[in-house]
Amino acid sequence: MLKSKNLVPKSRFLVANSVIIIVFSILLIRFFHIQVYGHNEYKIRADNNRIRAIPTAAPRGLILDRYGQILVDNYPTYILTGLPNEMDNENWNFSVISACTAIDTTILIDNFDRYFRGRFIPSRITRDLTFEQLSCIEEHKHELTGINYIQFPERSFPSGVNMSHVLGYVKEIDRSLLRNMVDFEQYDVGDLIGWQGIEKQYENQLRGTKGLAFLQVDAFGREVGTVKDINDIKPIPGKNVFTTIDLSLQKTLEKAMSSYKGIALVTDPATGQILAFVSSPDFSPDIFTGNTTLRQWREIVSDPTKPLLNRITNGLYPPGSTLKMITAIALLEGLTIEQNEELECAGIYQFGDRVFKCWKISGHGKINLDQAITQSCNIFFYQAVQRISLNRFINLCRSFGFGSKTGIDLPNELAGLLPTRDYMNRRYTSRGWSRGHLLNLALGQGDLLTTPIQLAVYINKIATKGNTFIPHFLLSKVPEPTNSINLNEQTWIYIQDYLLHAVTEKNGTGSAADPKINGTNVYGKTGTAQNPHGDDHAWFVGYAKNGNQMASTIILVENGGGGGKIAAPIARIAFEHLFNKIIENRLAVK
């Protein structure tokens, strides 16, 4: 092992020594050159020409609608900062600022402490300074030490729509937040970060790259100008995000929904693009910027109508009769029903020891599948659903997207609840699952809960014969297909026919949804969902088609009552708006 002798010629030892001595001599000479020979020059630079690098904020990208109209903009605000090391008399500084801005000194000191990061880093004292406040501070500049103001781009919302659930908001990063962030090295205390909605989803696009301004400061820390031999690094603004939203449609629907709790959602089945997204009640997104008082904030949080809830992706509802198409598809696919087979509706139906009722007390009499959907007969479905198994029903629901997230590009979407046989047995231990539950499920009642966005995917699949795309907001996104469903072509045609009849026929429940525009066919289904929280929820799900233009609409009015009376007319407003415009555009082109 260690036996080989260390035979090194003396010459090599001397070479090694010389290399070491030469390298250290070079280093010594270099230090001598800088520290002794160049001392005077560097001393002057250190004393008079200190260079300070100040990060400059990059404006976030704008959020625009599909036609380029601005939904979220930036506007410049002024922030007042104090450099702790240079504030000789903090109390005097704060009292002068307080006199100028009419903000209490305790608030100023609070802020100052909150943003404090070190004696030599400017800490924020207050923000959103008005021009008057600024000029007052400028007047008293000679009394202040270490106080500066910088421009800071903040979010503004010029379009007048709320859409707070979609747009989301930005949040200021504080110390505790920064400590818990994974990509902390890209952020600093006081930076803005997208915290909800599109602002969060597309944070990487919207966020720009901070720049650096190099300033010369004198021995007292006062800025005396820019630095000659270093160029400022310009901030790179964030990229704009074009959304699929149609601003005028959004406005129209926000207005139509303003007096209701509920949702209105318009998507394009052929692409998955979301044209309008109203979750009502909502709130103006600028409550998160500016100076929202604690009291206003508490009001919003404790509001019993839950304006903070995004009802479209996070509201869970029984879908009611809008789910009847699942049963119809199961029947048609399984060939367990004839096209014109009629079942008797007497207004009342006894199953075991339970009594089920139809909404039409007098009953529909003898009725076939087509009419059962058109007139939304319950008793037809109570009887027909017994021909299929629970597993078949649940699997079909699953392939239409119920019980799993749709993958919409918003954070924190919920998956809803699709009860399986296991789930039912666990939940109802004593009696387990019974066929009575299936009767409930067929009518979209009972344990099944969906989010409205899931209903949109469901109706889009029907509209496109299963070839629709995941709903999304990003206009430039290549649509991702949803999972495919294999149904007979004939089944799709039947179902679409039934939905058309439900709107166009005189006794169809959805007739109020038809804007009666030439060449535009409206397909739809109403729903009136019983729920434990009060009056029935009114639903309308459907789509309209004109040539190759399509749009689907989901309307929900919480505790609104009958779907045909309350929800369908709101859908008409959406269709009217869209298809009148499409026809206008066509005429204009001609």
Binding site: M1, L2, K3, S4, K5, N6, L7, V8, P9, R12, F13, V15, A16, N17, I20, I21, V23, F24, L27, L28, R30, F31, F32, I34, Q35, V36, G38, H39, E41, Y42, K43, R45, A46, D47, R50, I51, R52, A53, N85, G118, R119, F120, I121, V182, E185, T209, L212, F214, A219, G221, D229, I230, I233
Partner: protein, 409 residues
């Protein structure tokens, strides 16, 4: 008990401990100065952290003293393979500060395994070169030891950490030289690198071609080999601009920033200027402890590790810098002397390798701080803050004590 400890240690070069202590104390004083305006809820500063890190460092140092030489020799290949696994481990974790350099155990301190790769590569190289009675006159026999250093260097480069990768490669040449490799063979190793580096500048490339031609002519290798070597290198040089152009712009940018961080938008030019102003304004005697304006006004970047020498230069002046450099110089000469005096080849090679690593750190760190070379973050041994590096330095000191044997003097 005490007697055996005395017998074991009496042969060791105790002067090494004196140098180490001096440098460590200088480091602690500078870190204390930096820590004066740090604050934290629990009073943890760079200084207190470094004090704490001295405990594992000292334990590591003592442990090495009690491991017999033959054990180190016997198990080094095992340690080498373990080290390869360890430097691959950070790739399994999320990046810290954008690199895969650290292993985070969920503790407040992270471990940087590549620091220990340096000394393990040196000992492994030493074993290989001493075990195999290599025919150092032949070129092919020096290729395998290169692999020993190249494998970890390539992994570390992926982290990405160019500084450590370069440090891993530096011991090869001095150690080969020490065991008697022909200088001309070492020249063959270095030539392709220089051919590529000079290829982008016509004058440099012409000069290099002349120098290379003269060296080959003077050493008079066999005609065919000489011609191949010369034109192979020229061809490589001519080819590299084309290879470069075939890279995508973002790849080019990544390579450029790796070698020249001044292209980094956060401004390495700014760092160099601030560092030079700090050092220069310190003058002969310095501004005094805690009075460095560049240091304390935070004009100086990464002052606790990469730019610690600027803090020393500003606050304690040229006189302290000169003493520090002279201590390092004597320290280096001492190690090389111990290497020369070593009876066996293995300890001698370990000593030369360790000397190279210390030398490379000192040179890169101080040359960077004074603007002689591009900014390349490497800490200064014993002085810069950092637990992993301090520990590996003290282990290397332990190895020096172990391998260096003064008794024959």
């Amino acid at each position: 008990m005490l007697k055996t400890v005395y017998n074991q240690t009496s042969d060791m070069p105790l002067s090494i401990i004196i140098f180490t202590t001096m440098l460590t104390i200088l480091g602690l004083i500078s870190l204390f100065s930096i820590s004066m305006d740090q604050f934290d809820e629990v009073g943890i500063t760079t200084f207190t952290k470094q004090l704490f890190f001295l405990i594992p460092a000292f334990v590591g140092f003592i442990t090495i003293l009690f491991i017999p030489k033959y054990m180190i020799h016997k198990y080094i290949y095992f340690a080498y393979s373990l080290m390869l696994m360890l430097i691959l481990t950070p790739f399994l974790f999320e990046t810290i500060a954008g690199t895969h350099r650290w292993i985070n155990f969920g503790l407040p301190v992270s471990i940087q395994p590549s620091e220990f790769a340096k000394l393990i590569v040196v000992v492994a190289l030493a074993r290989y070169l001493s075990d195999h009675n290599l025919q150092m006159k032949r070129f092919m026999t020096i290729l395998f030891p290169i692999l020993i250093a190249l494998i970890p260097a390539v992994i570390v480069l992926q982290q990405p950490d160019l500084g450590t990768a370069i440090i891993l490669l530096t011991p090869i040449l001095p150690m080969l030289y020490w065991v008697g490799a022909r200088p001309f063979h070492l020249f063959i190793l270095v030539a392709p690198l220089l051919s590529i580096a000079t290829a982008f500048h016509t004058t440099s490339f012409t000069l290099w071609a002349i120098v290379m031609g003269s060296i080959i002519y003077l050493t008079q290798p066999r005609l065919f080999f000489g011609v191949m070597l010369y034109f192979g290198n020229i061809f490589l040089g001519l080819l590299s601009p084309f290879l470069w152009n075939s890279l995508r712009p973002y790849q080019q940018k990544r390579i450029l920033t790796l070698f020249n961080p001044e292209l980094d938008p956060l401004g390495a030019a700014y760092q160099t200027i601030q560092s030079k102003v700090a050092i220069g304004s310190g003058g002969f005697f310095g501004k005094g402890l805690g009075s460095g304006t560049q240091t304390h006004l935070k004009f100086l970047p990464v002052q606790e590790s990469d730019f610690i020498v600027s803090v020393i230069g500003e606050e304690f002046g040229f006189i302290t810098i000169a003493i520090m450099l002279i201590v390092f110089l004597i320290f280096m000469l001492k190690i090389v002397k111990l290497a020369f005096l070593a009876k066996e080849r293995f300890p001698g090679l370990v000593l030369i390798g360790i000397a190279t690593i210390f030398m490379a750190h000192v040179f890169v760190n101080t040359a960077m701080s004074t603007g002689m070379i591009p900014v390349k973050g490497l800490p200064l041994p014993f002085i810069s803050a950092g637990g992993s590096f301090l520990l590996s330095c003290f282990i290397m000191i332990g190895l020096i004590m172990k391998m260096g044997d003064e008794s024959i003097e």
